[in-house]
Amino acid sequence: MEWINAIVQGVLLGGLYALFAAGLSLIFGVMRLVNIAHGDFIVLAAFLALTTTSALGVSPLLALLIVVPVMALLGYVLQRGILNQTLGDDILPPLLVTFGLSVIIQNGLLEIYSADPQKMNAGAIETASLALPGDLNIGVLPLLMFLVAVAVIAALQWVFYRSALGRAFRAVSDKQDIAQLMGLNKAHVFGLAMALSLAVVGIAGVFLGIRTSFDPSIGPGRLIFGFEAVIIGGLGNLWGTLIGGIILGVSQNIGAQINPGWQLLAGHIAFLIVLAVKPRGLFPRID
């Protein structure tokens, strides 16, 4: 029974990992950019939510209404102001600039909030749970987060494949020059992609902050989880990313079930196994 419980909790955790991953996957798909500071932005969003809840006295879930637009705006400005200048054939500039951003965000947060772990309280919903047959208990909050993750993935999928914005994303991703001839300003399109990416990061950050305690140093770890979910699921496949997140979450929980010290290790090993057996991921879509 403990094992089934571990697996169910792992699946729900996987939703959060898919949220970590979705924004990463999106900007890679549109502009082949890998944002090393992605995890630090998640933590930044969590701190932003923390400040919002304590300043306004609202629930962390309501803080989403502030955190998500602020993160989106930050993403747009960052892309137009800095990251667009780094895009090109050479992979070093975007990598090193986002690496520098990561250092800046971590130390900036450290300066403002100190290294103490923080946690947000979402109220009664945190302890509520649904009793399922067979002594299985599912927390309402983890379930809600999982459902939101699925909804976010579905929405991103719709944006990418059904909306004018997604059409622009795909066109610019295919052929930047020709897309410009269609009246698309690629700098703006890239800005919107980063805005969308950081909007998802905003949701992920708030959920992270409700679910576990966080401090300024944990960003890189979240980047790695997101990255592993992307690679396991297959590049460019959003639903694959959700499955990748679930596989990661389940592996970690199974590892923890065997030995608490093996939780993270088990996730990494699952990733390495997929990399060894199917280097393009389980459901690849783009090269």
Binding site: R32, L33, V34, I36, I82, Q85, T86, I91, L92, P93, P94, L95, L96, V97, F99, G100, L101, S102, V103, I104, Q106, N107, G108, L110, E111, P220, G221, L223, I224, F227, E228, I231, G261, W262, L264, L265, H268, I269, F271, L272, L275, A276, P279
Partner: protein, 342 residues
């Protein structure tokens, strides 16, 4: 009638002067235990070890195009191997350093087979995952102190040399020797056929592929050699610290972020860059380190500005304006007639 005879030469007056100056500086540094204080020697050792790490990362990223953010995997691995060999196998730390390097190269082989499947930026994060796996794995080894780490037993430390000052001089010389060794290996590697191939790959991977250069093999060799030397450097780092823990051994900030900063500031893809970068880095650190997190914030900012405004770093800036080169690496055509004054 004079026939124009040309020869290919790599040296120039600048490289010859630099070589001479280099030997003088080296001689002075070798003699440091007789003229420098204890704190200065510790600082110099640290500079040499960072210089090694920076040159190695530069070889990897600047020449072989393998942008790794996970070299702390090998620093930590080397450190832990030193401790394990000394504590469990009773090896002298001095003998353990090269063995740690060999083991580092050995463990890099399967790692390379795995992460070479990832491209570009995803390769970078893949190297990070490997470092995390190493960190978490060593944290599970309770005989090496698990998550909280362990110290090198006093008996082993004492066995290294007869007195404390002798021991300190030894570790100093080892650090200096390591930096010289790394520079020499990279220099010889770049001057070899392998180096030409690497330069070709860096300039155009597609073109060099069509010339029949086996890109994978060249990158693989560089990765494994770099891993071995990084592990040896790591062993030395923790021989100086005398204490190791998973978080210190596999710290991405200490062993990768700072190293990348050094190379980017100095000038990536040049041999001179890391040397200049390490000097700038330590000047900044010695003057600003009291600022704590603000100092790190500034480092990140400087790195971003350099990457955007002068992507080839300080040395690239100098080289573009003067054509200066201190290491005789690039070949130039010399007119033999002019040289002989005809």
């Amino acid at each position: 009638m004079t026939t124009a005879t040309y020869s290919i030469s790599r040296s120039s007056p600048a490289t010859r002067i630099a070589a001479l100056a280099g030997f003088l500086v080296l001689a002075a540094l070798v003699a440091a235990p007789w003229w420098a204080g204890r704190a200065d020697m510790r600082l110099l050792s640290e500079i040499f070890l960072y210089l090694s790490l920076a040159c190695l990362w530069n070889l990897l990223a600047g020449y072989a195009g393998l942008v790794s953010v996970g070299q702390q995997a090998f620093v930590g691995f080397g450190g832990y191997m030193l401790f394990a060999l000394a504590i469990f196998a009773g090896l002298s730390p001095l003998a353990a350093i090269p063995i740690a390097g060999l083991l580092g190269a050995l463990v890099a082989v399967p790692v390379a087979f795995l992460i070479f499947r990832l491209r570009g930026a995803y390769f970078a994060i893949g190297t990070w995952v490997i470092a995390e796996v190493f960190r978490l794995s060593f944290a599970q080894v309770s005989s090496l102190g698990g998550g909280s780490g362990t110290s090198l037993p006093v008996a082993i430390v004492r066995s290294m040399a007869s007195s404390r000052s002798m021991r300190e001089a030894t570790t100093y010389w080892l650090a200096l020797g390591m930096a010289v060794l790394v520079l020499a290996v990279i220099y010889l590697l770049l001057r070899s056929r392998n180096g030409l191939a690497l330069t070709a790959i860096r300039d155009s991977e597609v073109a060099s592929n069509s010339f029949g250069i086996d890109i994978w093999r060249h990158k693989f060799i560089v990765y494994v050699v770099t891993a071995g030397l990084t592990a040896s450097t790591g062993a030395l780092i923790f021989l100086q610290k005398l204490r190791i823990s998973p978080d210190a051994a596999f710290s991405v900030n200490d062993w990768t972020a700072f190293v990348i900063f050094i190379v980017v500031i100095g000038g990536i893809g040049t041999l001179e860059g890391p040397i200049i970068g390490v000097i700038v880095f330590f000047l900044l650190r010695e003057t600003l380190a009291d600022l704590g997190t603000t100092y790190l914030l500034l480092l990140g900012l400087v790195a971003i500005v350099v990457m955007l405004k002068a992507p080839r770093g300080i040395w690239g800036f100098v080289k573009d304006r003067t054509g200066l080169e201190l290491f005789p690496l690039s070949r130039r055509v010399v007119d033999e007639n002019q040289k002989n004054g005809k």
